[in-house]
């Protein structure tokens, strides 16, 4: 594919490119203060999480309520390896991913043959058990006291005779690091969804019996999806651990799973661009609500009331999200004739 053949790109592609350029240039504009950068880093972190979760409910149509469990596993894997062995961030990242994938397979293999409801609640139970484990096994994780002293990521140029660059706090280094992670995640998701693997997932989502008659082994492909989702959750967790440098169990409660679920539902189930948009919107909104609600005399956490209501309303009015994809919209039965025609023009499912 010739990248420079400009005629093949549609308006949506230019919008995305524009956003990317804006994101790259943002720290150099007058808009960029510490708070804005912090929020953007948070947005990027949640984009990774959203893209990771999207694989299961989005591509595969299964409700995963325990995503935060993998986030936590990744964070504590990274935290413990850093604190006890001083491993480099670049080594820990793949290790966390692998650990996440392993747990994804362990949890997924017995549970993905279950019906959707059971799968949802088992994943919920799993993430609760992860939190209980982290909280109670204080000999390992220091429990509620938290695990402090996690080194930030660093780029070690000393072998070239250069300095060791620490990527700390809300610095430019961290900003571009997490943005790079998002781009890598996005790239992987983009490649997968247009591949034989992605097609198999959409087939399973659409009609399991027909998928099976085409030679697709349901359990294997569902477990692959779950493992990939878990791996990216763990990667996000690893970054998180080395960004905030202190982690404790209360960052990994069910609320987080729900919050990330809200992002992908709002943005568009199964749409990699949509879920990123959902992440950006909800994180920004969340920060705003965090400020406003106490002024109204309401507890900070009551912004979840709004999220809950949002989910109910979305399922009623736009179940396929703000940026729906054909496969999901048709299945959620929100396809009007006009939208069908639009999809026909657009082309393939994704």
């Amino acid at each position: 594919m010739n990248i420079l053949a400009f005629s093949q790109y549609e308006r949506a592609d230019w919008v995305r490119l524009g956003c990317l350029v804006a994101a790259i240039l943002l720290p150099f504009t007058p808009l960029a203060n510490e708070y804005v950068l912090h929020t953007c880093i948070l947005i990027f972190l949640y984009m990774i999480l959203a893209l990771g979760l999207n694989v299961v409910p989005g591509f595969n149509g299964l409700l995963d309520l325990g995503y935060v469990g993998f986030y936590g596993i990744g964070a504590y894997t990274a935290g413990l390896l850093t604190v006890h062995y001083g491993l480099s961030f670049w080594v820990i990242l793949p290790l966390a991913a692998i650990n996440g994938a392993i747990w994804g397979v362990l949890l997924g293999a017995p549970t993905l043959r279950l019906t959707g409801d059971y799968f949802a609640i088992v994943t919920f139970g799993f993430s609760e058990l992860v939190v209980l484990f982290i909280t109670n096994e204080t000999w390992l994780t220091r429990g509620p006291l938290g695990l402090p002293g996690i080194d930030p990521p660093s780029i070690d140029l000393s072998w070239l005779g250069g300095p060791v660059i620490w990527l700390e706090g809300d610095s430019l280094g961290v900003y571009y690091l997490v943005m790079a992670l998002v781009l890598v995640t996005l790239f992987v998701m983009y490649r997968i969804q247009n591949s034989r693997l992605g097609r198999a997932w959409f087939a399973i989502r659409d009609d399991e019996l027909a998928a099976v008659s085409c030679g697709i082994n349901l359990l294997v492909y569902k477990v692959i999806a779950f493992a990939i989702s878990a791996a990216f959750g763990a990667v996000a967790g690893a970054f998180y651990a080395r960004w905030v440098t202190v982690i404790s169990p209360d960052a990994f409660l069910f609320w987080e799973s729900f919050f990330i679920l809200c992002m992908i539902v709002l943005g568009g189930l199964g749409n990699i661009w949509g879920v990123m948009l959902g992440a950006a919107i909800l994180v920004s909104l969340g920060e705003v609500l965090r400020e406003i609600l106490p002024l109204l005399g309401l507890p900070e956490n009551s912004r979840f009331l709004f999220y809950g209501l949002l989910m109910v309303v979305m399922m009623r009015l736009r179940p396929a999200g703000m940026l729906p994809i054909a496969a999901v919209a048709a299945q959620m039965k929100t396809t009007s004739k006009r939208r069908l025609a639009w999809f026909k023009k657009k082309g393939s499912a994704a």
Binding site: R191, R196, A200, A210, C214, G215, I216, G347, S348, A349
Partner: protein
């Protein structure tokens, strides 16, 4: 030449209901065989047993992909059966409604291709070649069944007759040796039925054996070389379609005993 499929004493019970009782017949290589019988006779259940969707209660289903190999197919999982070379279509058309016409057929190629997560992400040369081949084979299958529509249309937007043909294209994309069609002519007008019969003959001529469930007698008479009649899960008659049609047992099964007497 060995038969391509041997069904030996196949029985299937659902709780107390005997859906299939001791059915035995062979399908010769390259034949077009019709499986007929009144509604509820057990025809789709037989398909499901061969395809692996149901597990036979007893009996054997032996598949011979070529003269030297034989595989016990009864009780194997459906995805395995497809890989072995038996494809099927569904009575109620099960397309991937929300996917495009082309994607539907591409998914049919799934069992003949191998690239995985790593191939997809790293765009390895073998994955790229495979994608090109998948696209080419999918288009070839669509071409073969004569489906002239926008390949990027959603499958559910096609008219009924074309959806049936799309399902057949998808089944052909799995490179089957044996193709089982479940009432492909249902809901078709005479012109479409004629085109379907031509298609079935073309498929057979390309080297695929065909087992056909059908109620439309014109199609059965027109295209089947042999028919097997079952009723209440039991084998009733077998042979040349015209002869079988005159068999009083068969007439009685369809029309009741009065009609059988009238015909005799």
């Amino acid at each position: 030449m060995s038969p391509i499929l041997e069904i030996k004493n196949l029985s299937k019970n659902f709780g107390g209901v005997k859906a299939l009782q001791d059915i035995s017949f062979d399908i010769g290589r390259g034949e077009i065989i019709g499986l007929i019988g009144p509604n509820g006779a057990g025809k789709t259940t037989l398909f499901n047993c061969v395809a692996g969707v149901e597990k036979p209660s007893s009996g054997q289903i032996i598949f011979h992909p070529d003269d030297d190999t034989s595989v016990q197919v009864g009780g194997k999982k459906p995805e395995h059966v497809t890989k072995l070379g038996i494809a099927r279509t569904f009575q109620n058309i099960r397309l991937f409604d929300a996917l495009t016409v082309l994607d539907n057929v591409k998914i049919g190629r799934h069992c003949r291709t191998r690239s995985n997560f790593f191939g997809a992400v790293f765009h390895t040369p073998s994955q790229q070649q495979e994608e090109v081949a998948i696209e080419r084979d999918a288009r070839a299958a669509l071409d073969f069944v004569g489906l002239k529509v926008d390949y990027h249309a959603m499958a559910s937007s096609l008219p009924y007759g074309e959806q049936r043909r799309l399902e057949i294209a998808r089944a052909l994309a799995t490179d089957p040796k044996l193709l089982m069609l479940d009432e492909p002519a249902a809901g078709m007008n005479p012109q479409e039925s004629k085109e379907l019969m031509d298609l079935i003959r073309r498929v057979r001529d390309s080297g695929v054996t065909i087992l056909l469930i059908e109620h439309d007698m014109k199609v059965v008479m027109g295209v089947c070389e042999r028919v097997v009649v079952i009723n209440y899960g039991q084998w009733l008659a077998e042979g040349n379609p015209h002869q079988v049609a005159k068999d009083p047992k068969v007439i009685e099964a369809y029309l009741g005993s009065g009609a059988a007497c009238d015909a005799a």
